[in-house]
Amino acid sequence: MRISRSATIILGFISSLVLAVIYLPLVIVFINSFNKSMNMEWPPPGFTLNWWVRAFGSGGLIAALGTSVVIALCASLVALVLGTLLALALSRYKFFGKESIGLMVILPIALPGIVTGLALNNAFRTVLGLQLSMATVIIAHATFCIVTVYNNVLARLSRTNRNLEDASADLGAGIFTTFRLITLPQIGSALIAGGLLAFALSFDEIIVTTFTAGAGVETLPIWILNNMFRPGKAPVVDVVAVTTVLISVIPLYFAQKLSRDDAK
């Protein structure tokens, strides 16, 4: 389609406007991380590096960051395995109940977090009598992360060439070997994209986490929530947000690059 020049300009203008709105609050967060006022007064009465120094000297913050990374990694791993298995099954076979399974995998993310959180909390504590812990958070997160991997892999499988797999089998490769050498490389970047999204979802999740975390399990969002309630801690929280955003550029860049290379 030849897009007219005026349409290009209008689209470009709207896009920049949307991006500006997306980044406006983040800029404010960035500035507030240097704000001298501990209540994030606006405009800032002065600037200080104090919050950055404090943030990196805070053991609780580092521990919470560690907890979040462990939970997000574990949950993404479980989601990667389960999501891939499910995508393989649903893309390669026709069977009774296929649609229900497709719906089932979407439910944990399609239903609001408070419903998922409440349901799991009730099941863990009241029904199973389990103590809430880090494991319960991982189980909960993995459950709603499956869908991101599943959809990415399913989309990729629908575009891959099945002839390669057949050829591999014809040449005498077993099904595990075929999966390892043919299927896995084909869905590799889809796994990375899905896994990364799963990681991000888990990393910033707060509602389901609130309902499923045990005593002493403090993820980064919960640490942030707790610190928002403390006097004079808000700017430290801004430091955390700025840092996570800056760090996340790296995996995002590589994921984009990978999927680009893949598409070529």
């Binding site: 006022s37 501990m38 209540n39 994030m40 007064e41 606006w42 009465p45 404090r54 000297g57 805070s58 053991g59 609780g60 913050l61 521990a63 560690g66 907890t67 462990v70 504590r125 199973l128 009598g129 389990l130 103590q131 809430l132 812990s133 880090m134 494991a135 319960t136 189980i139 045990g214 005593a215 002493g216 399990v217 929530l225 707790n226 610190n227 928002m228 309630f229 403390r230 006097p231 004079g232 801690k233 808000a234």
Partner: protein, 388 residues
């Protein structure tokens, strides 16, 4: 202080595999009181308001847990909660050895059998606690003491001196006179705030017969709800955390409403605000540390209760949170020399004007036998209706 990550994960998995009975069955010493202390158990899991047990992980200079750990060998894990109600549901899981609870939670904890009566003879520093904080409705049931005080404070009236004129002396500025500041009034976001309205009615409409703002029969509750529904039309927002309240006073989104002393102290100097104890008196809180009835670490828990009431630790904890300490001895350890004066610590006349948060229950707390009073569940539903 904390388990290593890997270890934590292993423990977490192991716990999750264990069945219900294993975790809650043993170690329950029910309603009995401890006669003497034994050896410390090495670990202690605490639940409290944010800032009640700081171990330096938030701020290196704020730490009164580490000295306790060194002294007793009890390794502390602390979980902060946001509201009294969240505290209750967390504590019920049985994962915590002790809790710092406000009076709107304590009676529910006692009634549910989640906490044990205390042998205060085993808590030496309890002897120095202000007598007006002892044996009160929110920490003592059937003459048995269930909690030792942590700190106390009043819910004050804060106003913007540029906007709210003349300077108010009464809560009427947020009730009958609230329409003058439509959209800029704030109130505490909890069912327990109904008591603030009840206190106001108690002073201004004596014909309703309210003698204790936590003891309302059906009709009295309805009156308080009507007052709050009228107030709702003028409320800009309800607050439940410091930051929200501070910010909206700073920006002028809010000009009048309930506050805590610590919020007033956190306001910048250029914001013109004043906080007062109105003529009607005020509601307030007096928080107590209580020990779980199913704890397996009762000795460490007793040690903690003793420690938190000791002058140095109590000064550090209450000054950090922004409330009055519970002993006179604590005052000398405060970093701000004016600390005890600012918070009116030990001022009995001031304390007498405070109606401390108490859980409303169906047995009337004011001694009436002929009617049933409304309980906290009723207050919660009423609060939802008020917010609409």
């Amino acid at each position: 202080m904390k388990l290593s990550k890997a270890k934590g994960l292993v423990v977490a998995v192991a716990v999750s595999l264990a069945l219900a009975g294993c975790s809650s069955g043993s170690g329950n010493n029910g309603g009995t009181m401890l006669d003497k202390l034994g050896a410390n158990e090495k670990t202690l899991t605490l639940l409290g308001w944010p800032g009640y047990a700081e171990d330096g992980s938030t701020d290196k200079t704020v730490d009164w847990v580490t000295p306790f750990e060194k002294e007793t060998g009890c390794q502390v894990t602390f979980k902060p909660y946001g509201t009294s109600d969240e505290a209750l549901s967390l504590f019920k899981t049985g994962q915590y050895d002790a809790i710092a609870a406000s009076g709107d939670a304590t009676l529910r904890l006692v009634a549910g059998g989640y906490v044990q009566p205390l042998n205060t003879a085993l808590i030496p520093s309890y002897a120095n606690v202000y007598s007006f904080l002892k044996n009160r409705a929110w920490n003592t049931v059937d003459k048995k003491s269930y909690g030792v005080p942590h700190g106390y404070g009043a819910n004050l009236l804060m106003y913007n001196t540029d906007v709210v004129k003349p300077a108010p002396t009464s809560w009427s500025v947020v009730f009958d006179g609230a329409s003058a500041y439509k959209g800029k009034v704030t109130a505490y976001d909890s069912p327990i705030y109904i008591a603030d309205a009840a206190l106001y009615l108690m002073k201004h409409k004596p014909e309703l017969g309210i003698t204790n703002p936590y003891s309302l029969d059906k009709d009295q509750l309805a009156e308080a709800v009507d007052l709050l529904k009228a107030q709702r039309a003028n409320v800009g927002e309800y607050w439940s955390d410091y930051l929200k309240s501070i910010q909206s006073f700073e920006t002028g989104n809010t000009v009048v409403g309930t506050t805590w002393q610590v919020i007033k102290n956190s306001m910048s100097t250029k914001s013109h605000t004043e906080a007062i104890l109105p003529t009607e008196g005020a509601t307030g809180w007096s928080d107590s540390w209580m020990i779980s009835s199913s704890t397996k670490h009762v000795n460490c828990a007793y040690k903690w209760l003793d420690y938190i009431d000791s002058p140095k630790a109590n000064a550090a904890a209450t000054e950090y949170f922004g409330e009055a300490p519970v002993t006179q001895d604590a005052c000398q350890y405060a970093s701000d020399k004016a600390f005890c004066d600012t918070y009116h610590a030990g001022d009995e006349a001031y304390a007498a004007q405070i109606w401390y948060w108490t859980t409303p229950i169906s047995t009337c707390l004011d001694g009436r036998k002929d009617v049933k009073c409304t309980d906290y569940a009723a207050w919660t539903k009423a609060w939802q209706d008020i917010k609409g």
